[in-house]
Structure formats: structure tokens, C-alpha cells
Amino acid sequence: MGAILVIDDDPVAAKLLELTLHPRGYRVDVARDFTSGRKALEAGGHDALILDIFLPDGSGWDILKYLRNELHLTLPVVVLTGHRQEDFAARATEFGANGYITKPFSPRDLAAQVEHLIG
């Protein structure tokens, strides 16, 4: 059905996403930090990205900007973050994300959103 890249340093969140999306027919690749996430995006082959903002070696915002402005990729992006700064949702839209979800989250709702975005 499609391949989804998850960039999230939280192993529990990554496992939850993997076990939610894989049974729905998606291949799920997980990157735990900024550097490996960027490499995975450069390698290509993903239909959607689920992106955490605070990564150990960089910012998810920079990944989003890199994806849109340098790699010129249009794949759907859902920002998934545990931080609730007031301006985050607006910033996510401004930088080209298609969805914005805060932790805690419902894995079923997130899967539905990804399915909707991939089509």
C-alpha cells in the first residue's frame, strides 16, 4: 500500500506507530534522529512522513524545510509532537506540513489521517 517514514527519537512512539501502520499494509521505516532521518529522505521511496520536532541532533522543522525547499518532495507530512507551544500548529502549516498531532494521541486516528493523506 505504501511506505511511511517515521522520524522520532522516542522508541515507544516509534514502536506504536510501526505496530499500528504495519498491519494496515504499510511498510514502516524508522529513523531515530535528525541525521538518519535526513539520509532516509534523501534515499527516497516513502509515501508519507511522520515527524517529531525535537530530535537529539537537530530540529524536525529543519527536516521539514529541507524536504520542501531542498529536496522538493511533496509527500504528505504529519507533525507529531509532545510539546504544545502555541505557535507550533501554525508553524507546521507554514513550513508545509499536512497534519499536526500532539502526544498523547490516538493511534487509530493517526492511522486514519495517514490513510486519508496517502489516498
Binding site: P11, V12, A13, P104
Partner: protein, 348 residues
């Protein structure tokens, strides 16, 4: 070779622990989402740790189901016992775990800990209570719990910032508590300030009137917080216009700053001449806030700002208007560049 074998054995232990956590996380997810058999008691520490980390991530029915499952292992009772320890470290550890678990059975003991504890434990108990209430289904039981926590907040002081942090965790349970705190005439100023800030940060427009009544409070911190909240909420009720315009002449600088920000929520006709005048305030911050508010008032506000840049009688007002106009043009260019060049395509 003892010195080198010790770190190696530690890393082996850490790796094993990480593997155990990963394996338990998978097992809990299988139980929750795919109805696999739940683990048999007693739970290992790794099983508890992974379950609580997972619980902290889950919203809605899946989260409630995991909480219920963990109660079946009496984890709530063990954590409540540990929370009553006389030693600080296990007490704080238990409070942290209770905030992840969201056990409703721990609510009353947590409120007791909130009222009786020292500052650090009180903040942690407050966080645990707020997260528990946030996941509590609506109904009379939650209403009673909210009323209990409101009384606890009034009884046991928290610094204003900490109280606001706790209140923001309440999510859908927040309005009931905020409304109660904001409607008490004899409320402590720190708590009023925290409640007003929370209303603004959470964008709770239904509490606009409750916040607005405090913009003329004797305490400048409260006046400032109420005005800041109104500014975040956007529109300002017309019945508050007189108090808001008075606040633009407040003797405290930071109150005038917030009043200038909030003024953009009043009807343009009323506020344009006032903001134009406050561009000549003695404070750089008030001039800046007035100019930014004018800019957000659409074409009329921008025209007023351009006029101020040309012909305001105050030289500093002219400089500030020109600066804010220049900054806005740069910001618009920065935002437009990538979007115009590469419009995003969302698959149908």
C-alpha cells in the same frame, strides 16, 4: 582488566533493559490494539515501565483501556503506597509514574499529597491530577473531581507559572476549573494571573468575559495577564472597551504594552485613533506593541501606520512606524519565497 570490564557489563545491562522494554512495549500494544492475551501477574519492572511509557502516549479509549488493565495488576495501589513514602526520591518517582498512569483511583490520595507536600512534590502531584482529569470521561464524577481540585488549588499555593503549567494539562476539564477560579472575588492574585494566562494560552474563547472582568484589577500582574489573554483570544467584548482604553494610560509599563496588544481586538473605528496616539508613548515597548496592533488591523491600520511614519508629531513614533512597516515587508517576502516557488501538492 577490571576497569574496562565494568563499563562493558553496564552497557550489556543497559542493552538488555532496552531490549526488554522494547519487547514489553510490543506485547502491551498487541494486547491493547489486537486483543492478545494480557501478561500474567506479577509484572516485572520492565513491564511496568514500558506500560507506563505507552500509557503516557495514548489518548482516548486505548489509553483508558490500558489504565484499567494496569489496575487489574494493582499497580495503582502500589504506586499510591510508594507516594506516601517518607523518602523524597521514591515519592517523586511514584508521582511521576502516577502522572503517566492516570489512575482515577489515585485522585483523592493525589489531592491530599498536593495540599500537604512541599513545592516540588506539589507541582508533580498537580501535574498527575491534571493529566488524570484530562482523561476522565465527562459526567458528574468528573465535575466533583474538578471542584475538589479547584479547592485544592485555592488552598495550596503554587507559583503562578507552575499553576498555569498544571492547568494547561487539564485539556477539556480546564474550563470548569478556570471558570470557578476566575469568578471568585477574593481570589489570590497569583491564581487569577495563572488562570487568565491559561485561558489565553489554551485559546478558550468561551471564557473571554470571565478573563475580561479583571483588566482593572488593583494588581498590575493580574491586569497584565487578563489583557494578554484577551490579546491571544482576538476579539475584545465591547463592554470592556472603556477599561481597555484606560489601561493604555496605566502607570505600569507592562500593562500598557499588553493593553496595546489587546486593543487590536476592538472595532477599528474606535481603536485606530487611540493606537495612533499611543505610538507616542514614552516606552519603546508600548510604541512597538501599538505599531504591531495597527499592522494587524488590515488596510486601515496599515494606512494609519504609514501616516504615522510620515507625520506623527513624535519623532520616536515616526521611527517605530517605519521600522515595523519595514519588518513586515521583509517577513512577508521571507514567507512567500518557498511557498510561491514550490506549491505543495497533497494527493487527492
Amino acid at each position: 582488566m577490571a576497569p574496562s570490564s565494568r563499563p562493558r557489563s553496564r552497557s550489556v545491562l543497559e542493552r538488555r533493559h532496552t531490549e526488554a522494554l522494547s519487547s514489553w512495549t510490543e506485547r502491551w500494544i498487541q494486547t491493547l490494539l489486537y486483543h492478545a492475551d494480557p501478561p500474567k501477574p506479577p509484572l516485572t519492572l520492565a513491564a511496568e515501565e514500558s506500560a507506563l511509557a505507552l500509557r503516557d502516549l495514548l489518548r482516548g479509549d486505548d489509553g483508558l483501556a490500558l489504565t484499567e488493565l494496569l489496575q487489574g495488576y494493582s499497580l495503582d495501589e502500589r504506586l499510591i503506597d510508594r507516594m506516601r513514602s517518607r523518602r523524597l526520591a521514591p515519592r517523586l518517582d511514584a508521582l511521576d509514574q502516577l502522572s503517566r498512569a492516570r489512575f482515577r483511583t489515585a485522585f483523592e490520595p493525589l489531592v491530599q499529597a498536593f495540599v500537604e507536600s512541599d513545592a516540588v512534590a506539589r507541582l508533580m502531584a498537580g501535574r498527575a491530577i491534571a493529566l488524570t482529569l484530562a482523561d476522565w470521561p465527562e459526567g458528574p464524577e468528573r465535575d466533583r473531581a474538578c471542584a475538589t481540585f479547584t479547592r485544592a488549588l485555592e488552598e495550596a499555593p503554587l507559583p503562578s507559572g507552575a499553576a498555569s503549567e498544571v492547568m494547561q494539562l487539564l485539556e477539556d476539564a480546564a474550563p470548569q476549573i478556570l471558570r470557578a477560579l476566575l469568578s471568585s472575588e477574593r481570589q489570590r492574585p497569583e491564581l487569577l494571573r495563572a488562570a487568565a494566562d491559561t485561558v489565553g494560552r489554551m485559546g478558550r474563547t468561551e471564557l473571554r468575559g470571565q478573563v475580561g472582568q479583571w483588566i482593572a484589577h488593583p494588581n498590575p500582574e493580574v491586569r497584565s495577564a487578563a489583557l494578554r489573554a484577551l490579546s491571544r483570544l482576538g476579539r475584545v467584548p465591547l463592554n470592556l472597551s472603556e477599561d481597555l482604553l484606560t489601561a493604555l494610560d496605566d502607570q505600569t509599563e507592562f500593562v500598557r504594552v499588553q493593553a496595546a496588544h489587546a486593543a487590536k481586538g476592538l472595532p477599528q473605528k474606535l481603536v485606530l485613533p487611540i493606537l495612533y496616539e499611543s505610538m507616542g508613548d514614552r516606552s519603546w515597548w508600548v510604541r512597538r506593541a501599538s505599531a504591531e496592533s495597527l499592522l494587524r488591523l488590515g488596510a486601515g491600520g496599515r494606512a494609519a501606520l504609514e501616516k504615522a511614519a510620515r507625520s506623527h508629531p513624535d519623532r520616536f513614533a515616526r521611527d517605530m512606524s517605519a521600522q515595523v512597516l519595514a519588518d513586515s515587508d521583509t517577513a512577508v517576502e521571507d514567507r512567500r519565497r518557498p511557498i510561491r516557488a514550490r506549491p505543495m501538492e497533497v494527493p487527492a
